[in-house]
């Protein structure tokens, strides 16, 4: 029925929030006849709450819910990103049956065979080369906290190694390490909702409009409420655009800038001496190290005027309460942990800890990358950051799990290629890799090495929801349920535990991740079995004091509980901000200052490779794109081969125009992508998003790692750009490559059709 426009506008006026569920339209209501399921969004770590509207056993739409962080708002991924559950097969195909590689070819098998074969091979390798020859991953995406807890328990108790890590390694591991050193707790000190009440936001190496639109919303609101915004980023990001000050620093100069700001704050007497004396240690050494980092000294490193740095430092120091937000632009550098420590030190200097809307905000990227860390899918700790080298903690877990546990810290995700390819001694090498919910064949730096490592490993297990590049190299494929098909808990970026709920029945012969791991563990002689995720969660809580109070009942009642939450009573509603009254999470309660010498990036541009490349995000796509790349409308907006953002000056120099295909090469590889001229990037710098499979920028990136966190320098490498004269050939190449990727992923491309 057509409704006149007057009645529509009347409706708009009747309700303050046009998005509230009460204004569901009649047709929408008809769509929802079956049920509405409240859950947590599976994309970025903003932790948005939404309703999945289900009809005939299929999700038909999503409606924003009034969650703690999203307040009835969703971005495009939240609104339309559920579509992959309907398996439209745009990029890859849903896995629906276990597979084993027999005579080089993946063949479908029954679960019994897949489980017993996997257990047998892992046991053989363990026997022959020892438990440390096996590596496992956690999953920062749809699987949830319970599956991660079970996985790290499996690796430690059943296999007997601490070789467990996950993709936090390639993103916020420096934040975890840097903050553990300085404040004792590797997470956002403030909450996402608190951002809008800060008086000053210092946003460095972080583009929330692309990576967390719902966090970007809080920054916009902060600005509307009068907060000052300072952005340090080589690009004009959306936040830089609305900022009071934009510092377009040279890529790779973060530490120089951060220490120069510390230098100014000290030199101009803007320090909070009372806070420093009462709550921190190491100020004198810090002061000594940053002494030489005058704004004039770093001018040539940062390519910023000294006066601009001075002004930014003064504004930051003067603000009544200031928060620092950062993302991959801080973390994906060879000197990342030092910068994180430097940022925490700025907050110490100015007393910006102890209350709400201040402190440090490493905004986690993936929906459950905080959870992967929380649950101990890390080589150095159990759930709740209890160290494997701490005898008391280890003994507690040994007692609970009834088995002796290893105390040596395991190897990290980014060390896998080196531990497969670079070690001659058979006994010391990695021989098996159990990859759970990750795609190192796409997401890790220098893909060439990674693929070689996957080829050389004796045994690769891939447990996922979609076929992916890693699956092509796997010996066993174990198909799991996806978000929307199982229950569990996710941890949002600001430490908020939230429930995700099952909305639809999975199609195909698939099992939940934790069930699969339990079956393999049992077959390997370490029995594990749970009735449901709640039982796993309760076991985890009983061993983890800082999460003990966050029961399912409490999550159900409150919607979201931020750790630490130590008491099960409803009185303990969790912790919205950390380090209350300046008490830090170290045994002595003191924050630790840190400063060191700045180092240049590992690979600098030269005559042969004259441009720099940084990898960035595309707002409508997520991670390795197996989810969003299989969502209809999201892939309509952006699809292969992706773009390279370039300065219009460079475009003119190379005689290339918007949309033209161009060849991008580094010392490690070469790909084709489309030219996107934009005045928002500086001359000589380029940016590519890492979701694309044809324009895969990780073919180009450098495996240069931070020495502490082993995080790769994805934000800086040297490349060259070459115009492609024969554009028709290049267009055909893109088309053929896409077709071949889809075929490789198991899609019947004739039947499913192709759009590009």
């Amino acid at each position: 029925m057509m409704i006149s426009y007057r009645s529509l506008t009347l409706r708009h006026k009747m309700c303050d929030n046009p998005k509230c569920v009460n204004v569901l339209t009649k047709t929408e209501k008809e769509d929802f006849m079956e049920k509405q399921v409240l859950t947590t969004c599976p994309y970025c770590a903003s932790g948005c709450q939404l309703y999945l509207n289900v009809k005939d056993g299929k999700i038909v739409s999503a409606t924003p819910a009034n969650g703690r962080t999203n307040e009835g708002n969703l971005c495009l991924k939240g609104h339309y990103g559920w579509d992959y559950l309907n398996d439209p097969q745009i990029l890859t195909k849903r896995l629906t049956k276990p597979q084993i590689r027999k005579n080089g070819v993946l063949e479908e098998v029954e679960w019994d065979e897949a489980i017993s074969y996997t257990a047998k091979r892992l046991l053989e390798i363990k026997e022959k080369y020892g438990p440390d020859s096996i590596m496992g991953t956690g999953c920062a995406r749809g699987s949830g906290n319970e599956a991660n807890y079970v996985m790290q328990k499996f690796m430690r108790a059943a296999v007997g190694t601490n070789n467990i890590d996950h993709c936090a390694r390639v993103c916020h591991a420096p934040s975890v390490a840097g903050l553990a050193y300085t404040v004792g707790s590797g997470a956002m000190s403030l909450s996402i909702p608190e951002i809008e009440d800060s008086k000053l936001l210092f946003v460095i190496g972080y583009n929330p409009a692309e990576s967390h639109p719902i966090v970007a919303r809080r920054i916009v609101k902060a600005k509307q409420k009068g907060a000052k915004i300072i952005v340090a980023d080589p690009r004009i990001t959306e936040t830089a655009r609305i900022a009071d000050m934009h510092l377009p620093l040279k890529g790779g100069s973060n530490l120089a800038l951060v220490q120069a700001m510390g230098n100014v704050i000290i030199a101009e007497g803007l320090v909070d001496k009372k806070f420093i004396d009462a709550h921190t240690v190491g100020y004198e050494e810090y002061k000594k190290t940053v002494e030489k980092y005058t704004p004039e000294y770093v001018e040539s490193i940062c390519k910023l005027p000294a006066e601009t740095i001075r002004q930014a430092a003064r504004e930051y120091a003067k603000a009544e309460r200031a928060a620092i937000l950062w993302g991959m632009g801080v973390c994906q550098f060879g000197q990342a942990v030092d910068v994180v420590k430097g940022l925490a030190s700025l907050a110490f200097l100015t007393g910006n800890f102890g209350g709400p809307s201040m402190g440090v905000g490493p905004v986690r990227g993936q929906n459950n990358v905080q959870g992967g860390c929380d649950m101990g899918a890390l080589p150095n700790c159990y759930s709740g950051y209890q160290n494997v080298t701490d005898d008391a903690a280890r003994e507690k877990f040994e007692k609970a799990w009834g088995v002796k546990l290893p105390k040596e810290i395991g190897i990290t995700l980014t060390q896998v290629p080196q531990h497969v390819l670079g070690i001659k001694d058979e006994k010391k090498r990695l021989h098996a890799y159990y990859i759970f919910g990750e795609d190192p064949g796409q997401s890790d730096p220098d893909l060439h090495d990674m693929r070689e490592a996957l080829d050389k490993l004796d045994f690769v297990v891939m447990q996922d929801i979609y076929m992916n590049k890693t699956g092509l190299k796997a010996d066993v494929i174990l198909p799991a349920t996806a978000w929307g098909e199982h229950e569990g808990v996710y941890s949002a970026a600001d430490r908020g535990f939230q429930l995700m709920r099952k909305a639809v029945e999975p199609k195909g012969d698939v099992k939940t991740d934790w069930e699969i791991i339990c079956l393999i563990s049992t077959a390997m002689g370490y029995p594990m079995s749970y009735k449901n995720t709640k039982e796993i969660w309760d076991e985890m809580r009983s061993l983890t004091p800082s999460f003990y109070g966050a029961t399912y009942e409490k999550l159900e009642a409150l919607g979201s509980v931020q750790w630490p939450c130590t008491d099960v009573s409803m009185e303990d509603k969790g912790t919205s901000y950390l380090h209350k009254d300046g008490k830090f999470a170290h045994p002595d309660g003191k924050g630790k200052f840190f400063a060191t010498e700045w180092r240049a990036p590992g690979e600098i541009e030269d005559a042969q490779y004259p441009y720099t490349l940084s990898t960035v995000r595309e707002v409508g796509h997520y991670s390795v794109r197996t989810m969003t790349g299989n969502c209809r409308t999201l892939s309509n907006l952006e699809d292969e081969p992706g773009w390279i953002q370039m300065s219009p000056i460079d475009c003119e120099k190379l005689n290339v125009k918007e949309g033209e295909l161009i060849r991008v090469s580094s010392r490690r590889g070469s790909v084709i992508t489309r030219v996107k001229p934009t005045e928002r990037v500086m001359e000589g710098a380029t940016y590519m998003t890492y979701q694309w499979w044809i324009g895969a920028c990780n073919e180009l990136t450098v495996p240069y790692l931070d020495p502490v966190s082993n995080t790769p320098e994805s934000k800086y490498c040297a490349i060259k750009l070459e115009k492609i004269e024969d554009q028709a050939w290049a267009e055909q190449y893109v088309k053929d490559s896409y077709e071949s990727i889809r075929k490789n992923m198991g899609i019947d491309t004739e039947e499913k059709g192709c759009r590009i």
């Binding site: 426009y5 529509l8 038909v60 739409s61 495009l76 609104h79 439209p88 600005k223 409308t633």
Partner: protein, 177 residues
Amino acid sequence: MNYFVKGNPDLCIGCRTCMIGCVVAHEGTKIFQMKPGEYVFNPKIDVVKTATITMPVQCKHCENPACMNACTVKAIEIVDNAVVVSQDKCIGCKTCMIACPFGAIDMVLASDDSKQLDGSDRVVANKCDLCTGVEGGPACIRVCPTAALKLVTEEEVGTYISNKRTAAAISLAQVKE
């Protein structure tokens, strides 16, 4: 008076949720059951980015629409306070596209799957219709996560002008002759 949707560059974060919201509102949720190549994806709103500006651009629903006046087949009319293209009548002559001073009209494949007599695709004018006939009002406004889009009605224009005049009176009163 015709209504229009106003974009605010201070609030817009360039996420383009509005563009998908527009397509889903016009094509219906049935597209989520179709093969990826079978439906059309024609947003009637575009997020424009320059070095310092990000904002959605769409039809202003002019009171004296250049597009409507230029249309030779009377395919553009005012319906319920909105300037609307009737895709059935459109012959795809592009005159409206050229006439529009905002670039708010583009030429796209007809979304109703209609073909020309020779079986070839029909290309027609595509522009914002303020979601006429869509319950709940303009989808772009409803889905925007930062409330960067606002429906401007006659009443709101009235309030806006009256507020501005009050502010003007206050500031002008300061000026002593």
